[in-house]
């Protein structure tokens, strides 16, 4: 809904005082979304996936920049493997590499910690902290504990 894919039943969602349904493309250029499906193409290699996803969101990523982003997420040596042969956690890391290279202000992250180990979780926390210190906004929905000391964070507990 926040991404503008669904229409709210009532009321509207505003970004910089404008309804996101009328902003559409301007709003999307500020937004990075990661859902529970990774958005990773099995047939493409890790680096192709990253460069293509980034290119489609308007950022031309050089080969070296993509390589270093993948390396930072612990995918060193797997850059040229097709995503099909990566494990679930590695595919997740590949999807998260998009955050590393994104230049958008608003991140909407849904269940980002699933199938990640502790090292990767702490890596995500660092990435999020850097994003927030740089003045970005991150909206994170998660079942796991996420420790965010940097900047201002607001925790909303939804209990069912």
């Amino acid at each position: 809904m926040i991404c503008g894919l669904l229409e709210p039943a009532e009321g509207d969602i505003r970004w910089q005082r404008k309804n996101i349904r009328s902003l559409s493309e301007d709003y999307f250029s500020q937004l990075t979304y990661l859902g529970h499906r990774n958005g990773v193409k099995d047939e493409l290699t890790a680096i192709e996936n990253l460069r293509c996803a980034s290119g489609l969101s308007g950022i031309e990523l050089s080969h070296e920049a993509a390589m270093s982003a993948l390396r930072e997420l612990g995918l060193e040596g797997r850059e040229l493997l097709p995503a099909r042969s990566l494990s679930e956690g590695q595919r997740r890391r590949l999807a998260l590499a998009r955050l590393k290279v994104s230049q958008t202000a608003l991140w909407v992250l849904d269940e980002i910690l699933t199938s990640l180990d502790r090292a990767a979780t702490s890596l995500i926390q660092t990435i999020l902290a850097t994003h927030i210190t740089n003045g970005g906004i991150a909206l994170v929905a998660t079942h796991q504990e996420l420790d965010l000391s940097a900047g201002s964070s607001q925790r909303i507990q939804l209990s069912l």
Binding site: D26, S29, K41, L44, G55
Partner: protein
């Protein structure tokens, strides 16, 4: 932040779809072989009378092209929908119709261009003259992009539904009829020795209409399907 260039994104989407198709060549080849086999069945199953073959040739080749293009439609959005890349694509900061146009272009190159190239060879089975083979190729060049464009609307509308393949066929085949008629008539005219120009012009007009309107319709349908 750099200004996203629409052209570079268009290139990315076309590159991506061509690359995906290259990695899954079997899918592409199966469409082509389907087309070749369906067309070849007719000369085998009807009488070898050259006059009869000549008169059924335009219809047979065109109907086979329609059916073959149905085969690849299911893949146009369904794979992207399944692995979540479609959501990502919908959230990219440029007009959706350009993305759709890019995807359709890639789909046309991958599944229809081979048909166009192979059709004149198949036409020889029906004893068509050289001139007629040329017209056949030309009518397919003008007509097949329309099939891809109209098909993309159907593929977008039936996205995520069960038995969507059958539904796509029911939705889209009736819309293919104008293309079928003008395409087959152009070849017919050439066989009869008259000028196929008027039919080809009409096909061209249909193509222009489809290029202008189909990507918009498809984007709207995609937005509805993803909700």
């Amino acid at each position: 932040m750099s200004v996203p260039s629409t052209w570079s994104m268009f290139r990315w989407i076309v590159w991506r779809d061509l690359m995906l198709a290259w990695r899954r060549r079997a899918d592409v080849l199966s469409t082509l072989f389907f087309f070749m086999i369906v067309v070849s069945l007719f000369p085998l199953s009807t009488s070898p009378d050259p006059q009869l073959l000549k008169s059924i040739a335009p219809g047979v080749v065109w109907v086979a092209a329609l059916l073959a293009s149905m085969l690849s439609l299911g893949r146009l959005f369904a794979n992207d929908y399944a692995d979540g890349t479609l959501e990502q694509i919908l959230l990219t900061p440029q007009p959706l119709y350009l993305i759709v146009a890019g995807k359709v272009l890639a789909q046309w190159i991958v599944s229809e261009v081979p048909l166009v190239l192979v059709a004149p060879v198949l036409g020889v089975q029906f004893g068509l003259s050289q001139n007629t083979l040329l017209v056949l190729g030309l009518s397919l060049v003008l007509g097949t992009p329309v099939l891809s464009l109209i098909g993309s609307i159907g593929a977008a509308l039936t996205l995520g539904l069960r038995s969507s393949n059958v539904l796509v066929a029911l939705l889209v085949l009736p819309l293919y009829i104008p293309v079928l008629i003008f395409g087959a008539l152009a070849v017919d005219a050439s066989i009869a020795g008259t000028s196929p120009q008027s039919h080809l012009s009409l096909l061209g007009a249909v193509l222009i209409l489809a290029v202008v309107f189909a990507p918009w319709a498809t984007s709207a349908a995609l937005k509805i399907s993803i909700e």
